[in-house]
């Protein structure tokens, strides 16, 4: 499949109540262009799923939303991404408070080699969100409860986080993210390293979190996209092909590429 010249995204890329707005985003790795003129809104309190074949740029795009790509030296970004109408790529923008507002959960669970408690307390501590031990305890407990992990770990809060099972580790990472109380949570294939039961728990959790947070999730699994998201964006070779409400994408895709992908002709 070759790149379609100046493809206009099909469907409804824009939202009435946008939290994040991406406009003409282009990403380059050295000489190679990875993302071509992507414009997309992510609405407040919605879950949007980014799907597409491997190497289509969906993870790259996600990492642009809280400037995680800054850690890669050769990565260059053009265009605008606005968080509450504020350009996060503006020169004076500081990535630290930005990332406190736009948290991220990664593909592979990556708990710090610290205790469960310290993993969750890390964010509030570095950001100075709490001032007393009691407050911190409270934040940790609340975050673990919201991540659905509290009952499993409340007796061993000071055991190392790396000792948990894969699914528990990923929920710990989610707890760690919500402990900072961000406005947006980015999830980069959060379940790809997990078994089906753990995956189901996380999906349940995403649904609950939607009440308070805006969530963008990259996923490889179309079933997962269908289960957790309200809108779905389909990426193909660095281009945003189609954005539509999830049920529409999976029942009546507008673009032939989308259809080809969801019917399993490639992926």
């Amino acid at each position: 499949m070759s790149i379609i010249e100046n493809h206009k995204t099909d469907g409804q890329p824009f939202s009435e109540n946008p939290k994040l707005k991406a406009r003409d985003v282009r990403v380059f790795y050295g000489e190679k262009q990875a993302i071509f003129d992507v414009s997309l809104d992510i609405g407040a309190n919605e879950v949007i799923a980014l799907i597409g074949p491997s190497g289509c740029g969906k993870s790259t795009f996600l990492r642009c939303l809280n400037r995680m790509n800054d850690t890669i030296d050769i990565c260059r970004i053009e265009g605008e991404i606005l968080l509450d109408d504020e350009n996060i790529y503006a020169p004076k923008m500081d990535v630290v408070p930005l990332r406190a507002r736009v948290g991220m959960v990664f593909q592979k669970p990556n708990p710090f080699p610290k205790s469960i408690y310290d993993n969750v307390a890390y964010g509030p501590r570095i950001h100075g969100l709490v001032h007393h031990r009691d407050e911190l305890d409270e934040v940790v407990e609340k975050s673990l409860q919201r991540a659905g992990l509290w009952n499993e770990v409340k007796d061993r809060l000071h055991a190392p986080g790396t000792g948990l099972s894969g699914g528990q580790q990923q929920r710990l990472c989610i707890a760690r993210t919500i402990a900072v109380d961000p406005e947006v949570i980015l999830m980069d294939e959060p379940c790809s390293a997990l078994d089906p039961i753990a995956t189901a728990k996380i999906e349940e959790l995403i649904d609950e979190l939607r009440e308070n947070y805006t969530i963008a999730i990259v996923t490889h699994s179309m079933q997962q996209a269908a289960r957790v998201s309200q809108r779905t964006a389909y990426f193909h070779l660095g281009q945003l092909i189609e954005v539509n409400p999830t049920d529409l994408v999976f029942t009546t895709p507008e673009h032939t590429l989308t259809e080809a992908y969801i019917t399993g002709r490639f992926g």
Partner: protein
């Protein structure tokens, strides 16, 4: 957006000033550390160079001296044994007395001491090489004593006497005004062996000693190191013995070098009767010391050879040994050589173990073979650094410059080899 997240935003913003300061501070510590290291490097090199570059220059006195046959008691037909024994020292003294007119015995002694004891060897060499010069007036550049040398290099411009007496300064100034006292490139620093006289001491003996020692080290450690690396990487079964050998090699690489000297002394010298103070024993000890380095880098080089090459050769029915010697070894050799050069550079700079096997002896003659008494450059540096004369400090720094130059050459060779190696894959 909840109220709470609003407060998060405010709180984070509030904490930023403090955190940015901490960030800057931390970054500065890092930068300061790098700069400190680089500064040390600059200071060290600057210090050595400023002290040592003058060692490559030598003060000489241009003299027209009459080779008086009668005074020397020689003729142009005298055999070499007689020519060698002429009183050249007396001739120089006579010349100095005539030309400078010292008054009294102590002034005479002061005057004579301004010319190096090596000066009469210069005359002797001249006459022995060409007896026909006898009876002629020759122009020679007499080597001056180290105190004149140091005066000219360091004190003269500042108007100081240095270690010279007032009268000596006067004479030296007179020669200088006549344009006869000057510095020239210090050839003897590179052609002489060690000496008690700083102006005659040179690094030739130490360089030869180093060369012979490294030759022995290389001849032993390279084949053994390569063989051991091949065995461990290609043939060794994964068992307890191999594991012990591996742990052993890694530990040995970090054992203090001085313990290798103890081994050399107690076993090579005392039990096996190897002669001390020779490049042979030095080379043996340094071989044991550098082997771990060579083995470890050799194994890395073998590991870097893609397994596909082994499989291809094995698939054609080559034996393990043929695969290794026909395919793996030629590809791994540049890497192994790089490791060996680094090991050799390490051996070149090593001092401590050699002190214990007698390489600290005062050796005047330049060694010619691996069982002649010898010393090596680093030990020569150690020996000279202990001498009180200022001129020896200069020479120590000069010898250090020579040593560092060798190291630079070796390390550059290693880097270039590595570059070439990298281009291969």
């Amino acid at each position: 957006m909840t109220d709470q997240s609003l407060s998060t935003r405010v709180k984070v913003e509030r904490s930023m000033a403090r955190r940015r300061r901490a960030e800057t501070r931390f970054r500065l510590y890092g930068m300061a550390s790098i700069l400190f290291g680089l500064l040390c490097l600059v200071v060290l090199f600057g210090n050595i160079l400023s002290k040592g570059l003058s060692a490559f220059e030598q003060t000489v006195l241009t003299t027209d001296i009459y080779l008086d046959k009668d005074f020397l008691g020689l003729s142009r037909q005298s055999p070499e044994s007689e020519l060698l024994n002429g009183d050249y020292e007396g001739l120089i003294k006579e010349y100095l007395k005539e030309s400078m007119q010292p008054s009294g015995r102590s002034e005479r002694r002061d005057l004579y001491s301004m010319v190096s004891v090596g000066a009469h060897w210069q005359l002797q060499q001249l006459v022995v090489n060409n007896p026909n010069l006898l009876g002629d007036t020759v122009t020679v550049e007499l080597i001056m004593d180290d105190e004149i040398d140091q005066w000219l290099k360091h004190d003269h411009e500042k108007g100081r006497h240095g270690r010279l007496s007032e009268k000596q300064t006067e004479w030296a100034q007179q020669w200088l005004d006549e344009g006869r006292l000057k510095t020239r490139f210090n050839v003897s620093f590179f052609t002489n062996g060690d000496s008690r006289e700083p102006e005659l001491a040179g690094v030739h003996g130490a360089i030869m000693g180093t060369f012979l020692t490294l030759l022995v080290t290389f001849a032993l450690s390279f084949p053994i190191g390569v063989a051991a690396a091949i065995y461990l990487e290609e043939f060794a079964p994964k068992n307890r013995i191999t594991e012990i050998v591996e742990i052993n090699i890694n530990n040995l690489a970090a054992v203090p070098s001085i313990t290798f000297g103890l081994l050399g002394l107690a076993i090579f010298i005392n039990i096996f009767g190897v002669a001390r103070s020779t490049p042979l024993i030095g080379g043996l000890v340094l071989t044991l010391m550098t082997l771990p380095t060579i083995i470890i880098s050799g194994r890395a080089a073998i590991k870097a050879v893609p397994p596909s090459i082994r499989e291809a050769a094995l698939g054609l029915g080559a034996s393990r040994m043929q695969v290794v010697f026909h395919h793996v070894l030629p590809l791994a050799l540049p890497g192994m050589l790089t490791g060996t050069i680094i090991g050799m550079a390490q051996a070149l700079g090593e001092t401590a173990p050699l002190l214990m096997i007698g390489m600290i002896a005062f050796v005047v003659d330049v060694p010619g073979f691996i069982n002649d008494p010898a010393t090596v450059l680093p030990v020569q540096i150690f020996l000279w650094s202990d001498s009180p004369e200022q001129a020896f400090t200069e020479r120590t720094s000069g010898a250090i410059i020579v040593l560092l130059a060798f190291l630079v050459v070796m390390n550059t060779a290693a880097v270039m080899l590595r570059r070439r190696l990298e281009r291969r894959w």
